[in-house]
């Protein structure tokens, strides 16, 4: 469905992506993991047309899209939920959703809004409220709902878990899995490797602009390097206790939490 071939992207003279290739097949959840500054967001912005690749080619459903502008790429069925949510803060929740359907000219927009409210009931309660007054988790839900309003074939999520409470991270990831069940293909970018690998089918590991590893989610989870670097199973990382009764690793409130690699909520890098 999506094919990225040997793409290099530069910021000025700085090479942010170096000959990156990846594929996403229809119906898959593919995750891209990596530390801060590895180039994850750059890759996403290159795919969606906001940045231009200097070398390489990107195909969506076998059509080259590297030379198209962002609006044309959205029109083809690729939807991008940008980093740090980027909702239209001064506009109402409803207006945000309507903007998500900007390129559509069909009478089903109302139905899709109703569906979004079904998926995220909190948004229905807040539909008249300015998006900037929502909590972080609500804004993330709004950003995803807005991304879905264009009825994308491929949804690209840029770090949906950043800054969210652990339980909310789980909720968001459950929604991601649910979206796939409804037929949307997903490219998920995460620093939070553990959480991402739990829902993904396959994954790529990006380091300093290179894809260093790829494989199924099980393979990556089992990989020693990945465990050391991203899942924190090495000796050099301090393990924090995670409560078993609250499912999915809610870290206890303890000083070690900041370096807790098991916690899906951890924001830090790989050290």
């Amino acid at each position: 469905m999506l094919r990225v071939e040997n793409v290099s992207t530069f910021y000025g003279e700085i090479r942010a992506l170096n000959l990156v290739s990846l594929t996403v097949a229809p119906g898959e959840i593919v995750t891209l993991i990596g530390a801060n500054g590895a180039g994850k967001t750059t890759l996403l912005n290159t795919i969606c047309g906001m940045l231009k690749a200097r070398h390489g080619a990107i195909y969506f459903e076998d059509k080259p899209i590297s030379d198209l502008g962002p609006e044309a790429i959205v029109g083809l069925g690729v939807s991008h939920v940008p980093e740090r949510r980027q909702v239209f803060a001064t506009m109402s929740v409803l207006d945000n959703l309507l903007l998500g359907a900007y390129q559509r000219r069909d009478p089903q927009i109302g139905q899709d809004i109703a569906q979004a409210f079904e998926l995220f009931p909190i948004l229905k309660q807040r539909q008249k409220q300015a998006a900037g007054t929502l909590s972080g988790g609500e804004q993330q839900m709004l950003a995803i709902a807005r991304g879905l309003m264009s009825r994308p074939k491929l949804l690209m999520l840029d770090e949906p878990s950043v800054g969210l409470a652990p339980l909310l991270v789980c909720e968001i990831l459950e929604i991601v899995a649910d979206l796939r069940r409804r037929g949307t293909t997903i490219l998920l970018i995460e620093q939070n490797a553990r959480a991402a690998l739990k829902v993904a089918d396959r994954g790529y590991v990006l380091e300093n602009g290179h894809i260093v590893l790829s494989g199924t989610a099980q393979e990556l989870t089992a990989d020693e390097g990945v465990q050391k670097a991203y899942l924190g199973k090495g000796n050099r990382l301090q393990l924090a206790r995670c409560r078993a009764d609250v499912e999915r690793y809610v870290c206890l409130d303890d000083p070690a939490v900041n370096s807790c690699a098991l916690c899906p909520n951890r924001n830090g890098g790989n050290s």
């Binding site: 906001m50 609006e71 239209f88 927009i109 991304g147 264009s150």
Partner: protein, 387 residues
């Protein structure tokens, strides 16, 4: 540009109901005010007239100017208040419209336009609308490169554009042998507008004509704000990258609104030329652009209704200072007008940063809420025998 409203399924969600009732009140207030003042001036009941009633402060001439500025400001508010793109060169488009009309109605013969065309009553109207199109197209071409800039840089670029246009007007468009713009002295003896043999003059008739156009423009502005395109403008203001990510052609939309605001300024300029019967480049310099921005902020940037009230407030304030400052403080000189004007502007912007219309609306809501609260407190204390 697509001005189509949302599909009907959405209207059932009440998207536009509130906006509509607010706009209705706006129309009503403005029509009553203008109708009242126009009626007094045209009918002059019991020998009363507007200047007499207000001590020379309000004249039909001044209200006509308010209408002209409102047309420019609706465009400017869409551009600055809604789309968030600063323009410090709007007077350039105002001037382009004015000079386009002035030149093509007075110097038609020199330009080789046959008299059968240029003497026809519809020629001036045709020129007016051609001027709008041309200025709009011009703005679109200028807008594509400069609207890629943001914030201060955009302000600088539009400022530069304003200066270039001003100098071109002053220097005869760089072709002095044709003497098209009349240099520093401008163009004189611009004919009045006509419909058939009906001349739209004296000022009572022109007042009606200008406000007819003004209401059309206000209606257009409100329609845009409440449409899909208006949502796009606000989205660009809120977050350009997010607008891109939902598939809005950001640069195109910005150039479009820039072109629209320029076309509106050009319309006002043409109307101004036929109103004043003479235009000089000095009217369309940086000072005028700045004054437009001031009017826009005083009225309220992100509000179409702010346009007429902003224009009215600023013109009235200047007139008040010009005539009354000497009365209150004998012995002050001309410069003090500017000082007092500046101080008053600061007071307005501090007390009502969202502009007069939104500011007063909010003040009214606060006052009403305070009154309700006061009553509730009184009621809760009553059974205790307290006051």
């Amino acid at each position: 540009m697509n001005l189509q409203r949302q599909p009907t399924a959405l209207r059932s969600l009440g998207v536009n109901a509130r906006a509509f009732s607010r706009d209705f009140i706006g129309y009503l207030v403005l029509i009553l005010l203008l109708g009242g003042m126009g009626w007094i001036e045209i009918v002059q009941p019991g020998d009363l007239s507007l200047p007499k009633l207000t001590g020379g402060l309000l004249t039909l001439d001044m209200l006509t100017r308010v209408g002209l500025f409102t047309i420019v400001l609706v465009g400017l508010n869409l551009l600055m208040g809604y789309a968030g793109q600063v323009s410090l060169g709007q007077a350039a488009f105002y001037g382009m419209g004015a000079f386009f009309s002035a030149i093509l109605t007075t110097r038609a013969a020199a330009l080789g336009i046959p008299a059968s065309l240029s003497q026809a009553w519809w020629w001036a109207w045709l020129v007016m609308f051609a001027g709008m199109l041309l200025t709009g197209a011009c703005a679109y071409l200028i807008g594509v490169p400069i609207l890629r800039l943001r914030g201060h840089y955009l302000a600088m670029a539009t400022l530069g554009m304003g200066v270039v246009v001003y100098v071109l007007l002053k220097e005869n468009l760089a072709v002095p042998q044709l003497n098209l713009t009349g240099g520093f002295d401008g163009v004189h003896s611009i004919p009045r507008l006509r419909i058939g043999d009906f001349v739209i003059w004296p000022v009572t008739r022109y007042f009606v004509l200008v406000w007819f156009f003004t209401f059309l423009v206000i209606a257009l502005g409100l329609n845009i704000v409440n449409s899909r395109y208006g949502r796009v403008l606000r989205a660009i203001h809120a977050s350009q990258s997010a607008a891109e990510s939902v598939g809005v052609a950001v640069h195109k939309s910005k150039a479009q609104i820039f072109a629209l605001s320029a076309a509106l300024a050009s319309l006002a300029g043409s109307l101004y030329a036929h109103f004043q019967a003479a235009v000089i480049p000095a009217t369309f310099g940086f000072g005028e652009s700045l004054e437009l921005v001031i009017m826009s902020s005083v009225g309220g940037l992100a509000s179409i209704w702010g346009a007429p009230f902003g224009a009215f407030a600023v013109l009235l304030l200047k007139e008040l200072l010009r005539t009354q400052l000497r009365v209150v403080f004998p012995g002050v000189k001309g410069e003090f007008e500017a000082i007092a004007f500046g101080v008053l502007l600061i007071v307005i912007m501090i007390s009502m940063p969202e502009g007069l219309t939104t500011g007063m609306l909010k003040a009214y809501r606060r006052w009403r809420a305070a009154r309700v609260l006061k009553q509730e407190i009184a009621e809760s204390l009553e059974p205790l025998g307290m006051k």
